[in-house]
Symmetry: C2
Subunit: 227 residues, 2 copies
């Protein structure tokens, strides 16, 4: 199974590295990290990641995974990347995303009429692209599997392994990766204290800056392209 | 707070990328990815990571974090890296590790007489270096904070944030990273089915190969150096 993770400037690296750790150990998986060029891509953590393949000439992938991050809004207006996703989509068995990566799929027109996950603080942008935001950690809609924010990518990946290879393979990987996470409330708005939710919403709004307009422009372009 | 994550060939990247995602968002944190040179370092997932600083001339760090991986056994015999860790230790406020990274700290002689975490399938090597393996996800022993295997790094990082900045900052980061992991049994040997435990143990033993002898050689060297 040929798997492609999309790399782009200012991605939230755990959106990608979490599922990559799990899916790279899936039987038969061959993973590529694809970007518009082969130059190292800077993530949000000061850690640069090296692509293994360029979009151009990459060949058809079986599973595409688009991570999220504040850099997503620029990608949502990148015709080269959106075009690549549209070209890949018909032949891919699975089209997936983590966090705000679903907004990139949406901007490519791939989630129109579909239910999708997203980072909880960004989910309201999905309807601009004809998609419905679902506040679940992993959302399945046909060939589309879209995860919630950041750390959701790890759970999403285990769900994919279970779906493709069954519960025993997934259980083996969970044990190999010692996946027995601490249980604390507050990981979603539903269980977090209201002041913490307000704090994160405010931080997000402040960091969004020009990106709000960028995403709305992407939506306007997509809607304008529709027959 | 100057934080250094050690990069080395064939590290298990989630050991590092998980805590890096959390700690890089800690107030006042300045994170470096250090290696023996500035060349990209290949992880276990086909994803190469770019260092931001070389060991030589790196300056003193406040928190050191050593990830694990099958590449750890070579590092356990690398006098340059072990020497750097020994030089950093006296001036570092916190010396930490994820997964088999504790074996690297142990090989540097830093865990002699201490309790430490490790990947559950490798913990038996700790006593060779005078350390006691503790089957917990995050182990505190004085200035040493050592985590269990792979995904433990994320929980470890949230514990560090809570310890340094209090529960509200940790809660804010948990929500921002949507950390509400799925709850499934089987992430540790204690809760996994016996046949799954046997499977992972067999896979690990097969992959260990020459590394068992490498780690025993590191222990012999350390014990030989002790007065």
């Amino acid at each position: 199974m040929r798997i492609a993770f999309l790399l782009y400037d200012n991605l939230t690296q755990l959106d990608l590295t979490g599922p990559a750790q799990v899916l790279s150990r899936m039987p038969g998986a061959k993973v590529d990290f694809v970007a518009t060029s082969l130059a190292p891509v800077m993530s949000d953590c000061g850690l640069a990641l090296v692509p293994t393949a360029a979009l151009a000439g990459s060949g058809q992938y079986d599973l595409i995974c688009v991570p999220g991050g504040y850099g997503c809004s620029a990608v949502m207006n990148d015709r080269v990347v959106l075009g690549w996703l549209r070209d890949q989509a018909p032949g891919a068995t699975w089209i997936t995303s983590v966090c705000t990566g679903s907004l990139i799929l949406a901007a490519a027109g791939l989630l129109n009429g579909r239910r999708a996950g997203c980072h909880w603080a960004w989910g309201d942008y999905l309807p601009l692209f004809g998609a419905e935001y679902v506040a679940e950690r992993t959302v399945f809609d046909g060939r589309f599997i879209t995860a919630g924010g950041v750390t959701s990518g790890i759970d999403f990946a285990f769900r994919v392994v279970e779906h493709l290879h069954g519960p025993d393979v997934a259980a083996t990987l969970r044990l190999a990766l010692e996946y027995d996470p601490d249980h604390r409330p507050g990981g979603t708005p539903a269980t977090a204290r209201p002041e913490i939710v307000a704090n994160v919403k405010a931080m997000t709004a402040q960091r969004l800056g020009h990106r709000d307009a960028e995403m709305r422009a992407a939506a306007a372009r997509l809607m304008g392209e529709m027959p």
